[in-house]
């Protein structure tokens, strides 16, 4: 494993960093109070890299990406960050018009629910052509041609005929393919996929993962895949960021994370999953309790109330994300092998 890590380190160093998020915080002002959705996350993404973001619902994985894309309504949302750099541009200081130039063009996004993310009263063709006309200035005729190519690229048969179909004439898997076609329309440098397979069946999920993997290799874009499914990420990502209650708790190369998880949450989560390949019959390991209420201002380590290694310090001070080994960062006071302070 040490050797493979070393190789990866070199390749990642070689990569040009295309997305650099520093201390992103997103809050929502609601009637009940302030929701602390994202509480200071920091990570980088290299060109052509595949990053998995894993976490439960409500951990801020989607909100953090929507903040980067500036797709949240402000207010109620409040987005704060030291810096969000995309290539050489500082996204935080872009005007709304300039942001529109980046969004859908250089950074594209696929959403979770293919039933609601396509407009039901517009044809699929129209929706694929829209970014082509808007960002690339293609004529309607050229855009139609390109749209048909894109639908063929995502393996929809009879692409030219299907352009005139409405979303309800597509199955769930096909709709998600159409979403991929829209996202790829302007050759993005970065594709953000927000739980794109959660609403799909496993066999259709396998198709879509396979398709996106192939397209990524072919087109060389970077990919951020947000999911709660640790299985999907294992087969797809090079590096994984684990989020909990709005914090990044661990961030590592995929082999390292699964082989040597260092955060109690990651480790417990991996052990709570039933395995298709492993033994069965014994009771699953349970993480007692519930994720914290995001309406409370976070104090201490967010996982402390559910952690089996918890100490007094964990309840008072939140550990920062620190390097455990090259390319492997953990936010925890405790060494989980000994159960003692590091």
């Amino acid at each position: 494993m040490a050797l493979s890590c070393l190789e990866e380190v070199i390749t990642l160093e070689d990569r040009e960093v295309i997305l650099d998020i520093q201390n992103l915080r997103t809050r929502f002002d609601t009637r009940e109070g302030v929701v602390y959705a994202v509480n200071g996350i920091t990570y980088k993404l290299g060109a052509g890299e595949t990053l998995g973001i894993v976490g439960e619902s409500g951990c801020g994985k989607s909100v953090s990406m929507l903040s980067v894309m500036r797709l949240l309504q402000v207010p109620p949302a409040k987005i704060l960050a030291d810096s969000i750099k995309f290539k050489d541009e500082e996204l935080m200081s872009l005007s709304r018009t300039d942001m529109r130039r980046v969004r859908g063009n250089e950074i594209a996004m696929i959403f979770q629910d293919p039933m609601t993310s396509l407009n039901p009263v517009l044809t699929v063709g129209f929706q694929i052509k829209e970014p082509l006309k808007l960002h690339m200035g293609l004529s309607d005729e050229d855009a139609t041609k390109r749209a048909a190519e894109l639908l063929t690229l995502v393996e929809i048969p009879d692409a030219e005929l299907r352009l005139d179909d409405y979303p309800h004439q597509f199955s769930g898997g096909m709709r998600q393919r159409a979403m991929v076609a829209i996202a790829l329309a302007c050759n993005p440098t970065l594709l953000i996929a927000d739980e794109p397979t959660t609403a799909l069946d496993v066999t259709i999920q396998a198709q879509l993962v396979d398709l996106v993997k192939g397209l990524q290799k072919e087109l060389g874009m970077a990919l951020i895949w947000i999911t709660h499914d640790l299985g999907v990420v294992a087969g797809l990502a090079e590096r994984v960021v684990v989020m909990y209650a709005g914090f990044v708790v661990e961030d590592a190369l995929v082999d390292d994370l699964y082989g040597n998880p260092r955060h109690p949450y990651t480790s417990a989560l991996l052990r709570s999953l039933p395995r298709m390949d492993g033994g069965s019959g014994e009771a699953l390991e349970v993480i007692e309790g519930l994720p914290p209420d995001l309406l409370d201002e976070p104090v201490g380590c967010p996982f402390a109330p559910r952690c089996s290694f918890v100490k007094d310090k964990c309840l008072e001070q939140n550990p920062a994300l620190e390097e455990f080994s090259p390319q492997h960062n953990v936010a925890c006071w405790i060494d989980i092998n000994t159960g003692e302070f590091k």
Partner: protein, 326 residues
């Protein structure tokens, strides 16, 4: 194993939903063949897993077994009684023994009723005990599913998904049932909470000697909880056998594809694994393909598959498959 007594025996169960046209003079123009002639048995004390993709009829099977849908034809034997031909009073009495836990804990609990009333409702319907006894019973049930009995006067919205699902479990247990249909009880829950509910279901099975029909699309969880597993495709059973046999000696090409499509949380294994990726999507159950229903997506289909429907047969001890090429 063979001597184990069947608690529920399902024979040639069929459930078609009519497709109609017209508002006043409705005319049937077709049927969705949700469940099309399936037979299986559920043995006393076991967990039978039922898996398949969405729309394959697994939930309809569960509900038809419970007579929540009246089957189009076929029998469901519970003990000596055929639930299909039994009259309403008999079924109502038998409902004490057979219960269901629903998929969506947000939709299956009435938001205007307190937890206490939700769980006591089956007791009221069956006129068991007086007000005070029921309240005691509800408190016991809450404790049984690891919820604090103080929650009795709270409303469902005050609980998280996992806690709500426990309330659903408590309601199903109120009448001391023997058999529970678990209709995707964990699909709507967070990963870290799923294990809590599954462990609870397993614990209750051990303590109360329950029999489960566990419906799910998550093969890894089904593998964990089930003794035997049935795989369904487009209204038909394609394979049924014990859990270990299903994974070590997979016969039907659909089962193989389904197992291979489930991602394993291990990056090293994932890279080495050969995956079978099915092309296309599930055909419409209103107009299913001829012959073997899987032939349109089957990687090894031959001409016979298109013409003849494969027979549901036992290829070795307790291993049932419907495929021409096995």
């Amino acid at each position: 194993m063979r001597e184990e007594k069947a608690l529920i025996r399902v024979e040639n169960l069929v459930k078609y939903f009519p497709i109609t046209r017209g508002i006043i003079f409705q005319k049937q123009i077709g049927a969705v063949r949700a469940v099309d002639n399936i037979s299986f048995e559920i043995r006393n004390g076991e967990t039978l897993g039922l898996v398949g993709e969405s729309g394959c009829g697994k939930s309809t099977t569960g509900r038809t077994v419970l007579q929540l849908h009246k089957p189009t034809s076929g029998c469901v034997h519970y003990g000596n009684v055929d639930l299909v031909s039994a009259d309403n009073n008999t079924i109502r009495d038998l409902r004490r023994d057979i219960q269901i836990i629903f998929q969506d804990p947000y939709a299956s609990l009435n938001p205007r009723m307190t937890v206490g009333r939700i769980i006591a409702e089956p007791l009221e319907v069956h006129r068991i005990g007086d007000e005070k006894e029921r309240r005691e019973r509800v408190k016991d049930l809450l404790a049984l599913v690891n919820l604090n009995p103080f929650f009795i006067n709270r409303y469902p919205h005050e609980f998280s998904g996992g806690q709500r699902q426990r309330i659903g479990v408590a309601r199903a247990l109120a009448l001391n049932p023997k058999f529970i249909v678990c209709d995707e009880p964990i699909s709507a829950l967070d990963v870290s909470v799923q294990a809590q509910v599954v462990n609870l279901l397993e614990k209750l099975q051990d303590e109360l000697g329950l029999t489960y029909l566990f419906i799910a699309h998550d093969l890894s969880m089904v593998r964990h909880i089930s003794d035997r597993i049935a795989v369904m495709y487009l209204g038909k059973l394609v394979e049924l056998t014990s859990r270990d046999e299903l994974y070590s000696n997979t016969q039907h090409p659909y089962t193989k594809a389904l197992i291979s499509a489930v991602p394993v949380p291990d990056p090293v294994l994932e890279r080495e694994r050969e995956r079978i990726i099915l092309r296309g999507h599930v055909p419409s159950p209103a107009n299913p393909p001829s012959g073997c229903r899987f032939h349109t997506r089957c990687p090894i289909a031959e001409s016979v598959c298109e013409k003849e429907e494969p027979e549901w047969r036992e290829i070795c001890d307790d291993h049932w498959v419907a495929c021409h090429l096995v």
